[in-house]
């Protein structure tokens, strides 16, 4: 007892002094907004995994001895709340940068503000087309390939490998559907006349059977299906019912094996093509691959409560890695200007969970860091790589 008490006091005193000795310098504050509550809360896995990753970086010594303090606030998936939280992060907490802020309208809401404040706004969780505009918004750097890029990937694939097939397009009649079209046409180039028919549906329609039947009648050999998951599943089923043997392309946002392919019927989904940029944790191809093994070990140790099979976890992990990379490269001069210099001059940065062949690459007048996607095909129960040249 007598021995224990001084020991305990010493421990407390040490604990109080220790952070001062250990860091000696301030922490590096990284700000983030996430829908931890509200209708978008499923996405918050991204924020939790980012936090866990920065914990790991700190355990391993931080950025040149400085710890990363990741401040991630709930915006309830409401854009005005995002504005408030972003202002809290920038004006109160004085974060060095924002990273991985989530949501298209949410980032649009703070887009002008962060640029006016000249705060780096990096690796945004949004598929919007607005994040590669360095002339007007020099402080914003996006993340995943936008719909335009994705459309272009499909277009050039078709122009090269199915140059003589007629193309039918099914499209949700809103910006989501429309955002792909320009890219597809650009990718098709002079084969754009192959598009013989375009059918639209409203997101409120109960079914799209009629549209599929009409597209089938055109005799097209390719179906580009720019729909959202529920309708994608319906379309897959209807195409199978009609016994329509078609090269079927679905957007990556509707390519969830569990939410689309299983309800539509695994047997009906064979051969469907989509594009991806990250490794899917359920894909058997990566089961024993180092990047994925490390990821699983990380998840088990630092984020045991998060879902290691979810693609959101992979996104959070990769975003945090990209942010860490930028901080490491800018570590000698951690100013906002220098952070932007690094973040807009990424050259061949490898991230373990990007698909092979993809890396972060941008330059000051074209800041989108991930510029390409790879085609994958549904085989068996999951997505598998395929080489378009060899089919």
């Amino acid at each position: 007892m007598f021995m224990k008490r001084p020991l305990a006091i010493a421990a407390i005193v040490a604990a109080m002094i220790y952070p001062g000795i250990a860091s000696g310098q301030e922490t590096i504050k990284v700000g983030n907004t996430m829908p931890y509550s509200g209708p978008g809360s499923a996405y918050s896995e991204i924020g939790k995994v980012m936090k866990a990753y920065f914990d790991k970086v700190n355990d391993e010594g931080g950025i040149k001895g400085r710890k990363i303090e990741f401040l991630s606030y709930d915006d309830g998936y409401s854009p005005p709340r995002t504005v408030e939280q972003a202002r809290r992060l920038i004006e109160r907490d004085k974060v060095l940068l924002l990273a991985g802020t989530f949501g298209t309208p949410h980032n649009l809401a703070i887009h002008r503000y962060v640029n006016m404040r000249k705060v780096p706004h990096l690796f945004i969780g949004s598929t919007g087309n607005a994040w590669n505009d360095p002339k007007n918004f020099p402080w914003t750097v996006g993340w995943q390939p936008n719909a335009h890029i994705e459309g272009k990937v499909y277009g050039s694939f078709l122009a090269e490998h199915h140059p003589n097939e007629k193309i039918a397009i099914l499209m949700q009649n809103d910006e989501y559907g429309r955002s792909f079209i320009a890219g597809i046409e650009e990718g098709l180039g002079d084969k754009v006349s192959n598009i013989v028919s375009r059918a639209t549906y409203e997101a409120t329609d109960p079914t799209i059977d009629n549209q599929i039947i009409n597209l089938h009648k055109t005799g097209a050999g390719v179906l580009i299906n720019l729909s959202t998951p529920k309708f994608t599943a319906q379309a897959i089923r209807k195409v199978a019912d009609l016994n329509w043997h078609v090269v079927h392309i679905v957007p990556t946002a509707a390519a969830s094996a569990s939410q689309v392919m299983q309800p539509a019927g695994i047997e009906n989904s064979q051969g469907i093509i989509t594009a991806a940029y990250l490794k899917d944790p359920t894909d058997p191809r990566w089961k024993d691959e180092k990047g994925m093994v490390d990821f699983r070990a990380f998840m088990a140790k630092y984020a045991p409560q998060a879902n290691a099979k979810s693609v959101f976890s992979v996104i959070g992990y990769s975003m945090a890695q990209a942010t860490t990379y930028v901080l490491q490269q800018a570590a000698d001069d951690l100013t906002r200007d220098n952070v932007m210099k690094v973040a807009t001059n990424l050259q061949g940065v490898e991230l373990p969970l990007l698909l092979p062949g993809l890396h972060l690459e941008n330059k000051p007048d074209d800041v989108a860091p991930i510029k390409s996607l790879q085609l994958t095909r549904f085989e068996g129960e999951t997505w598998a790589a395929f080489d378009p040249a060899k089919q």
Partner: protein
């Protein structure tokens, strides 16, 4: 509801004037004592208080329920944003147009609402709140609403020669709106119309027997209420400088209602208390224990209902 609920003894006039003066001084001092972010928060609270005041006029004084005031808030915000996207239209005018549009919407919704009472009216307005974000996303309206992406507008700056930054200026703009609307509402309540509202709320049959046109009064209450909430929406668009469908979900309507109940139904100054609660409680709950913020929020709300059944504002009334 009993008559005694809404008729209460007034505080002595001198005391009232002193309290009013102190509040006015405090309200004007706020932007000079706080930093930019806090001024921004205070402005948001004021906006919310105006919206709650709008609902209070409807629920507290004419006895009609609404779970859909977020929809009027959204309409006011969108109309305002629509006029301000290119930055040439005067912003006060845009907010006022938003208010007028909401007045018309309120009247239009007030008519069918006449047939419904109490909880049924609450459900009908609820459907309005549920439908609003989807309506705003409709592709045929995209040209005006900006679809899912919403609309970005120019944030008003202080006029030349006034040494205030944008946050402080906006605070005073919103404060001026709040003060004018507060005077209008208190004037309305203490006058003929207000007594008609109360009579209809307390006993529609008796009111009708006294020669009050119950239909007109109810519809008018809906119109005024929607207008005030619409003005709040318009101001919120100025403050955030951005509107999007996801800003106006069902949660907003629920928040306005919670603010009303916490502040005190039928007590106009209670709106500010309700707004402070609604605005800061989620963050406060979050800082107590992340992951259980909803539970903490709920417990606090229940505690308030038990300890102050007439809302926190009710504690200040005798």
């Amino acid at each position: 509801m009993a008559l005694t609920d809404t008729i209460h003894t007034q505080a002595p006039p001198t005391l009232k004037a002193i309290i009013g003066g102190l509040i006015a001084v405090a309200a004007i001092a706020v932007p000079f004592l706080l930093d930019g972010f806090q001024v921004f928060q205070a402005t948001q609270v004021l906006v919310l208080a105006i919206a709650i005041m709008g609902l209070n006029l409807l629920t507290g004084f004419s006895g009609q329920f609404s779970l859909g005031h977020g929809a009027f808030f959204a309409a006011g915000a969108y109309v305002t944003a629509f006029f301000l996207t290119d930055g040439s239209f005067p912003y006060v005018g845009a907010v006022l147009i938003g208010g007028v549009v909401c007045f018309i919407l309120g009247l239009a919704f007030g008519f069918p609402a006449l047939k419904l009472d109490g909880i049924y009216l609450a459900l009908a307005t609820f459907s309005l709140a549920v439908a609003m974000p989807q309506i705003l996303k409709l592709s045929i309206l995209t040209e005006w609403t900006g679809g899912v992406g919403g609309l970005v507008l120019m944030k008003p700056e202080a006029p030349q020669g006034i040494p205030l930054d944008a946050d402080q200026w906006l605070y005073f703009v919103v404060l001026a709106f709040a003060a004018v609307l507060y005077c209008l509402v208190t004037g309305l309540i203490s006058g003929r119309t207000g007594r008609a509202f109360l009579a209809v709320k307390d006993n529609p049959l008796a009111a009708e027997a006294m020669g009050i046109r119950v239909t007109n009064v109810k519809v008018l209450a809906f119109g005024y209420s929607a207008m005030i909430t619409g003005v709040a929406g318009g101001l919120s668009a100025l403050v955030t400088a951005y509107v999007a469908p996801d800003s106006f979900t069902l949660f907003l309507s629920v928040n306005i209602l919670v603010g009303l109940v916490v502040g005190g139904v039928g007590f106009i100054p209670g709106a500010i208390i309700g707004a402070i609660f609604v605005h800061f409680m989620p963050t406060a709950a979050d800082s107590v224990y992340q992951g259980l913020q909803g539970v903490i929020y709920g417990i606090v709300l229940i505690a308030i209902m038990l300890l102050a059944p007439k809302g926190i504002g009710g504690l200040f009334r005798r």
